[in-house]
């Protein structure tokens, strides 16, 4: 396979855009290229993301300002190369007007960098949640109405210190950028509220045997903050209990999500009461939210997950914002997207989890949710909503220069001493 240089792709796309209205009139459909991981281990995440996307477009009957919307979807595999390949294909072969995606953090950074060189196409995020994508060195042409992994932790650190009285924790997380930002997001508040970190453990992603880490966790900690995903989380939680570990767990966004709570076969009674934080509320009796969840189940029936995932929520939010902005300008993007991008930047869009707007770097400001694992009458575990943190910005309420002065999240940062 050969790839045209980005510039050539950009030029051809721009030429197509400039030419097409004159030749075809306004009846030419608006082409939206989407990217999601529809293969490999993250296939179910990508599929759920696309469900969220479809929900937003269905609200507008796939039509804007009398112009039909055509959707072309490309699959990626969570690697930056696959995302850039998909984006190039959508721009240069399919002449997409708007790109929506990708799903994973490192894909998002790669697509942001690619978006700098492409004129006449607007890039909107899918579900990628790396802090880096919009915090430092953002692209003028990349809009993110979903939030990052550090924002997702809002409210949790304060809650565990003040409500639960846990001020000495160990952290266990996978060793790459997304868990760094989750641990950092937790620590910014937790340290500020007076908590201390006993020890940090960073595991290679895909570790199955955590037994040796379990014995390294100091026995006198109040709780263990765990930011692991999927099988890694299931393995750690089971092995920690099997080894006699008794400290309560504090969950990252994925540690106690539906995939882990519903993992077949395990006995995880000890997870009841585990607090976590996420961009979605869990079981919440808010009318907008329940209506949205009901519509999700109505549209997708048996294919749907028990509850929409963070991926469905993020793709929905981004697609909903895209449609709202297009609606404001009647689908007229022929001025090289200037109107459209202005509308996106100024937008405050209503979502099932509250209003979402953008900061000056085009990163989302949105509500975050505190949850707690509970058990229903049938013995199934679920997350119940126990609180909302409103309007969480990417700098977590700190002035931007003060936040940027902190070290980037990494294995050793932030230290509590840097925060207090």
């Amino acid at each position: 396979m050969t790839h045209k240089p980005a510039k050539l792709a950009a030029t051809s796309a721009a030429v197509m855009l400039a030419v097409s209205p004159a030749v075809f009139g306004d009846d030419e459909p608006l082409v939206i290229g989407t990217m999601a991981t529809l293969e490999g281990a993250f296939a179910s995440a990508g599929e759920d993301g696309m469900r969220g996307f479809e929900m937003a477009l269905a609200e507008y009957d796939y039509e804007i300002g009398g112009r039909e919307i055509e959707v072309i979807t490309e699959s990626t595999d969570t690697t930056p190369e696959s995302a850039v390949n998909a984006a190039q294909k959508l721009v240069s072969v399919d002449d997409a007007d708007i790109l929506l995606g990708p799903l994973s953090g490192s894909e998002g950074i790669a697509v942001r960098d690619y978006s700098r060189n492409v004129d006449g196409v607007t890039f909107i995020n899918g579900a990628s949640a790396a802090q880096e994508t919009t915090l430092r060195n953002p692209s003028e042409n990349f809009f993110r109405f979903s939030t990052d992994g550090a924002q997702w932790m809002a409210g949790l650190g304060t809650y565990v210190v003040e409500e639960r009285g846990w001020d000495n924790v160990a952290t266990v997380a996978e060793d790459y950028s997304y868990p760094y930002s989750q641990v950092a997001g937790f620590l910014y508040e937790y340290c500020d509220a007076g908590g201390d970190v006993a020890e940090r453990f960073w595991m290679p992603i895909g570790t199955s045997d955590y037994s040796s880490i379990v014995y390294s966790i100091p026995p006198d900690v109040d709780a263990v903050f765990v930011a692991l995903t999927g099988a890694d989380a299931v393995d750690f939680l089971q092995q920690y209990r099997d080894a006699g570990g008794e400290a309560p767990i504090i969950g990252g966004t994925n540690t106690v999500d539906g995939t882990v709570l519903s993992a077949e076969g395990g006995q995880r009674d000890h997870l009841v009461g585990t607090p976590s934080a996420a961009p979605i509320p869990g079981d919440w009796d808010d009318a907008d939210w329940t209506a949205w969840v009901d519509r999700y189940h109505e549209m997708f029936g048996d294919d749907a997950l028990d509850e929409p995932s963070v991926f469905a929520h993020a793709y929905y939010t981004n697609a909903r914002a895209m449609m709202a902005a297009l609606d404001e300008i009647d689908g007229d993007i022929d001025d090289d997207h200037a109107n459209f991008q202005q509308a996106l930047a100024d937008l405050e869009v209503d979502t099932p989890t509250g209003p979402v707007g953008l900061d000056e770097n085009r990163a989302a400001i949105a509500n975050m949710f505190l949850r707690e694992v509970r058990q229903d009458d049938d013995g199934n575990l679920y997350n119940a909503n126990i609180g909302v943190t409103e309007n969480v910005s990417q700098t977590l309420g700190l002035p931007r220069d003060e936040f940027l002065a902190l070290e980037e999240p990494s294995r050793n940062h932030p230290q509590c001493s840097e925060i207090r």
């Binding site: 595991m203 199955s208 037994s211 040796s212 099997d242």
Partner: protein, 287 residues
């Protein structure tokens, strides 16, 4: 001290799992020169079958037996229907096993999905074993059971290979296949039995692994890689070698993970490189 002791035990219990998988792998290779790259897929499929059998019967030991038998039958069928027609064409056989591993992985993803499965241990072995000792107050009971099972399997394999007629034929075949054939033995039957045994052991290990760890897509490749390293270090074709290799790799992985988590994966391959450089046929392999 507690930590060191626990980590050593973790290494040994992990080695128990690796040994069971790798002994089947090495038997098949020793006799048939067939590098079975679908061995990891057999492991994962065995685990899933064990999970379903446990759901249906509620008996963990039945689940182990069901996985062993089901994967053994699959192995025997493959040998009789596919590999026997490609006798002596090792490269083609290996390519077919590679294709099989990919096909099986996709079929399993389609049928069982991407979520994580855990097999519940028998009630007596759930959770920690309280030892009452200060030096190691609690240890996962199921991991100790795995060591026991691995030792039993090791002893049974040894008895089978040294004291039964089929076992003797297998050993004779490992040493000189042409001579075994020439002396009138139906080698295809011996091959089918060996392949069934090797595959069955992988399936059985899948249930053990699914009980102390978990089952999800990707585990097949991980366990295949681990058993490849174990048999290369121990010596292709040697059951004793796979036991020693398993202990070395199991301990290296656990010490690595506990003391230098970031570079944990490195030690496995350092051992591999040293063995290949100093003794390319493996510690117990014959040149």
């Amino acid at each position: 001290m507690t930590q060191f002791l626990a980590i050593t035990l973790n290494g040994l219990t992990l080695a128990a799992l690796y040994f069971i998988v790798a002994s089947g792998f090495t038997l098949v290779f020793g006799l048939m020169r067939n590098i079975n790259l679908a061995h990891g897929a057999f492991y994962l499929l065995g685990g899933y079958i064990g999970f379903e059998a446990l759901q249906a019967s509620g008996n963990w030991f039945f689940a182990v037996a069901a996985a062993f038998v089901a994967i053994a039958v699959l192995g025997a069928l493959l040998q009789m229907l596919v590999f026997r027609h490609l006798d002596g064409q090792e490269l083609r056989q290996t390519l077919i096993t590679l294709a099989l591993s990919i096909i099986l992985a996709d079929l399993m993803l389609w049928f069982w999905g991407g979520q994580t499965y855990q097999i519940a241990a028998p009630e007596a072995f759930q959770g920690p074993l309280r030892t009452g000792l200060d030096v190691l107050p609690a240890y996962p009971a199921m991991r100790l059971v795995n060591i026991g099972i691995a030792i039993v399997i090791g002893v049974l394999l040894w008895l089978f290979l040294t004291h039964t007629r089929t076992g003797m034929m297998i050993r004779a075949g490992v040493d000189d296949r042409a001579m075994l054939q020439a002396s009138g033995v139906n080698v295809h039957r011996v091959f089918a039995a060996t392949f069934a045994l090797g595959a069955g052991l992988a399936g059985l290990a899948g249930v053990l692994g699914g009980t102390v760890e978990s089952l999800s897509p990707g585990e097949d490749i991980r366990i295949l890689l681990a058993s490849l390293v174990v048999v290369i270090v121990g010596g292709m074709g040697s059951v004793v070698g796979s036991a020693v290799g398993a202990v070395l790799i199991g301990l290296a992985q656990q010490y690595g993970l506990a003391y230098t988590p970031t570079y944990g994966a490195l030690y496995t391959f350092v051992i591999l490189i040293v063995v290949l450089a100093v003794r390319p046929q493996g510690l117990f392999g014959r040149s």
